[in-house]
Symmetry: C2
Subunit: 619 residues, 2 copies
């Protein structure tokens, strides 16, 4: 039988998730896309992850008693990191407990970015011109803004006579940094929106943020789509190949992407009841190839030795010129990349985690279609890219799938193989965390050898329980393991883990393990020197630390130092939207981070080869 | 008979002009469009206006003997301000004697602008990228430039892969201020051009400048055209009316203007053998209405009380976006205006004269279709606009014409009326300087009364010579004076000065005289407090100081303080092109200059009414 699952409802978001019995509320929230702030790393020490359990609050823990008054405890206040879900519950998560808002609004562990959007609106009632006050329209606005010198482009200047047609001086000026972006008649300060995009190779996420000073940088809507470029190839190299073969290739890929981005913008606006015309700024992160394609810059040189990008730094360009359907004068800030294979999504991770401003040393790992790793502190920063491939996203795995409803996300082996799915229904496939669990558990009970080979019934440990022996089968002439039998799966077909699947996991984890090892060596520290390992990516929120360590995917450090930070790429894009001063830090991170090229490094080759085995596995 | 004229040929320019016997070489050069530097105001004191008379050098003056060695005198070196033309001659004018180059390259009387164009080219042989040097294309260029942070726009970034297609690292980067404007394959530093435009209501002048560091800011070609907008009205107000009546009016006027500007660019390129693609920057000055129309900004609010411009300050915009056929990435800097009726042409005059940086107080007067006056020094600057109308350009005058071949440019009355024309041929009409001369001389001999009335034969002084009495006639029932009889004119019609013509001159000079008076009062000085009166405009080079003072057009100060500075508007545009630091001074001048609105000022009304009379006339 499968593990028991519980439904957790989050307020005010109103979304439900199903989690395994005993999971912490932090992980449940992560599954709902809500990342909680845990400065102490989930040890119940800092008291920051405060939530209010509205229905079915469990008994308070000793940590709860330390951080809440008797009255608060009665009302249901608990620390999320200490709360283990043992039944259905309804939980309210206040703004200040949420990761992003915490990072942006207050001084977190490392990063402090004030809420100070690059765009802002000021309503001004300008005095009527007279013979004694013949200042130009533009001077009038500039003087009223009471700021330093401001620039304006031709389109803005050309629009001014129309705005002042009726002689009325009641206007709203939209400022973008030191530039007057737009002047609108009357008071329009009631709305001011921005959109942050994370343009992944496989998935694109957009977030609509309320940028009014009064809003405190709330996220009003989030939407995601599969990157339509996947039709042209799963990975960046195959897309670059397409661009090189088809003279219109770059434009074709760019157009597909823009259709998708504009659909996301429309959906965000519909969710929040916003007008695209009120979106005055867009920020975007992505890997270096995605950034190039998005901006219409040929990424060809990225794919060929010696691997050179056209553009590293961040750019401010007209969002309309790029093709986004937002306000005509809106600005697009594409965050800076670090190297050809370490894009602005990694810069965003570093920005969101504040790792470049901290004294202690931490490591950020973003496992998406590829794996990027950043390591360091305020004194030195390293980054590398591991050609891990998309195995953990379910690709190239026989019954692989994304972390969606019906995906096996957890596997426990006692006397039999017990699986738990996202949503709690019958399984349809296996996602990254399920894959890690399955391999880790099969290794532990001895069904998989340290070389990765699935042992035959005759080779398996003698004390193996009957149901486990029965799970051993073959597929396409290769050994395989039945994770869920046909009568239990939604598809009425057994869900198998094949020998080939395990090879894919080996290759992927070896690439990441090798990259982590090289970065640690290069920095000159042992895994123990890391204060924290920050796991980013949708993937990161669902994997089980111990099992990821058991297969060697994560370095051997204590679980409490491994923190899930959710979609840090998107969080970084949101920070850049909410805080203009954070952009300087992003540009600095891009400049100072040393890119470590793994290809061709003998020490990487050695570590990679070693890591193909599961010998480092720990219990 | 007419005065004797002489031909003066200027080298290395190779152009000829005809001047009256006794004219100074400075005035002759001015007629050829060559403005000489005269820091001492033409007193033969400073020795800066050195020229070499190649043929028919006159006897050296005492000043010449002070400033040149015997050997130099023998070779023909003379001071232009002391040289009176008494025969045909050929003169070579070295670069350092010319006004503009002097102003730009060395410390002149007031202004010092280093030769430091906003655009510059750098040829760089970039090291080939390698696994050890994976800097982005853009970083590679930035590092090679060895300068501070540089920006780049999307078009530039998109062009880079094409430039680096063949992997070659030999490129020329075009820098525009702190921006990379373009990157070109191979070494293109052999050419770098800029164009300076003076967009007058009536006349447009363009100058092509060599902006290579080695060139010392030489002017390679100059071309002029009549502003085709004259079809829509003579003055700015009638053009604004057209824009207000026709919904497409602004675009129609703008298109006409652009056709003309592009013709000038083509002509300049042909003259100098340059490619439009090699023009990387354009500067432009004009009155405020012309600047607005040129930029596509509605000038409507300029024409109506309380008279407000949309734009005062200077702007940097894409030259292509504005419609100029130059390099795709070229920048256009439109110099800052001062007020609705004091445009960037006046800013340019102040810039070229350096009056805003001087301790002594001087006045600049630019008489074009209107008259603009600037007054002040480094501590305070005033400017006003006089609705003088186009009389001095020949408009609204019965036989009026521009200062072109056949125009009566000088009038002397002894026993008869003697006229001298531009080019020396038979007269076809009368231009501004001829008009001033004629009125001044007719006043002197008593044919015109101080009220401006032409006296009848019975009222005229009794001692009037017979030929003068015979010159009195009538036209259209009004008194008139024959300047050239039918048998002497090219048209075989008599060239008359009518009573109505004299009224036009009265109105025009009263407006300027009134404006000068108000500015002097406002500043709190008498005419005698002026170190210099700088006369700008094509017109300014041809008028005779004493006669202009006699009719009251110029304030009563000694002739040696009145200096002709030629097309100062164009000179200012050229300075802005040659020296980026001068633009800060232009912006400062635009900000600090106090605009004095004459309309509705009682003191102006009083002075204007007084000035309608010729009572201030001096001998």
């Amino acid at each position: 039988m499968t593990h028991q699952t519980h439904r957790v409802t989050f307020e005010p978001d109103g979304c439900n998730v199903f989690v395994l019995d005993g999971a912490t509320l932090v992980e449940a929230a992560g599954r709902a896309g809500i990342i909680l702030n845990q400065p102490c790393g989930g040890e119940g020490a800092c008291g920051k992850c405060r939530v209010e359990v509205l229905e079915h609050a469990p008994e308070p823990t000793p940590s709860d008693r330390k951080h809440f008054s008797e009255q608060e405890l009665e009302r249901g206040w608990r620390l999320a990191c200490q709360l283990h879900v043992t039944g259905d519950m309804v939980v309210s998560i206040p703004q200040q407990t949420r990761f992003f808002e915490q990072t942006v609004l207050t001084e977190g562990k490392g990063a402090f970015y004030p809420f100070e959007p690059n765009v802002r609106k000021i309503f001004m009632e300008l005095p009527s011109p007279s013979v004694d006050d013949q200042r130009s329209h533009l001077d009038r606005i500039r003087d009223a803004a009471g700021q330093g010198p401001l620039t304006a482009n031709l389109a803005l200047i050309r629009s001014l006579p129309g705005v002042f047609t009726d002689g009325a001086g009641a206007v709203t000026a939209v400022f973008e940094g030191g530039k007057i972006q737009e002047v609108q008649p009357h008071d329009t300060t009631g709305t001011l929106w921005g959109v942050a995009f994370d343009i992944g190779t496989t998935t694109i996420v957009g977030a609509l943020m309320d940028l009014r000073t009064s809003s405190g940088a709330t996220t009003a809507a989030v939407a995601a789509r599969t990157n339509p470029q996947v039709h042209f190839g799963d990975d960046v190299v195959s897309r670059i190949s397409f661009i090189e073969k088809d003279p219109q290739g770059l434009e074709k890929l760019r157009e597909r992407l823009l259709v998708c981005l504009n659909e996301i913008i429309a959906e965000l606006c519909e969710q929040a009841g916003a007008e695209p015309e009120s979106i005055h700024e867009v920020t975007a992160v992505g890997n270096t190839t995605m950034t190039h394609i998005f901006l219409g810059v040929s990424p060809s040189s990225i794919a060929h030795a010696p691997y050179v990008a056209v553009l590293r730094e961040g750019v401010d360009v007209s969002a309309r010129q790029v093709g986004l359907r937002v306000n005509h004068n809106a600005n697009l800030y594409a965050l800076p990349n670090i190297a050809c294979f370490v894009g602005s999504d990694t810069t965003a991770l570093m920005l969101a985690s504040g790792m470049g401003q901290r004294q202690d040393i931490c490591m950020g790992i973003d496992i998406g279609t590829n794996g990027e790793i950043a390591l360091g502190n305020q004194d030195r920063l390293l980054a590398c890219s591991c050609a891990a491939g998309p195995a953990f996203e379910g690709a190239r795995i026989r019954y692989g799938m994304r972390a969606a409803s019906g995906a096996i996300a957890e596997v426990v082996i006692n006397d039999e193989i017990e699986v738990s799915t996202i949503g709690g229904g019958p399984p349809t496939g296996v996602c990254g965390s399920g894959l890690i669990d399955a391999v880790a558990e099969l290794l532990r009970v001895g069904i998989i050898h340290e070389t990765g080979r699935i042992l035959g019934p005759d080779e398996a440990p003698r004390d193996l329980a009957e149901p486990l022996l029965n799970a051993l089968t073959t597929f396409d002439g290769q050994p395989a393991v039945v994770l869920a039998a046909a009568h239990r799966s939604k598809t009425e077909q057994p869900i198998l883990l094949t020998q080939r699947d395990i090879r894919e996991v080996q290759l992927a984890k070896a690439a990441i393990q090798g990259g982590i090892g090289v970065l640690l060596d290069e920095f000159g520290i042992a895994p123990d020197g890391l204060t924290q390992v920050l796991l980013a990516g949708g993937f990161g929120n669902f994997i089980h630390r111990s099992r990821a360590k058991r297969i060697g995917l994560l370095p051997p450090i204590s679980n409490d130092r491994i923190e899930f930070i959710g979609n840090a790429a998107c969080a970084g894009a949101k920070i850049a939207l909410a805080s203009r001063s954070s952009r300087q830090e992003a540009e600095r991170l891009s400049r100072v981070t040393e890119y470590v090229e793994l290809a061709g490094r003998p020490d990487f080759q050695e570590r990679y080869t070693e890591a193909l085995l599961f010998t480092n596995a720990e219990g």
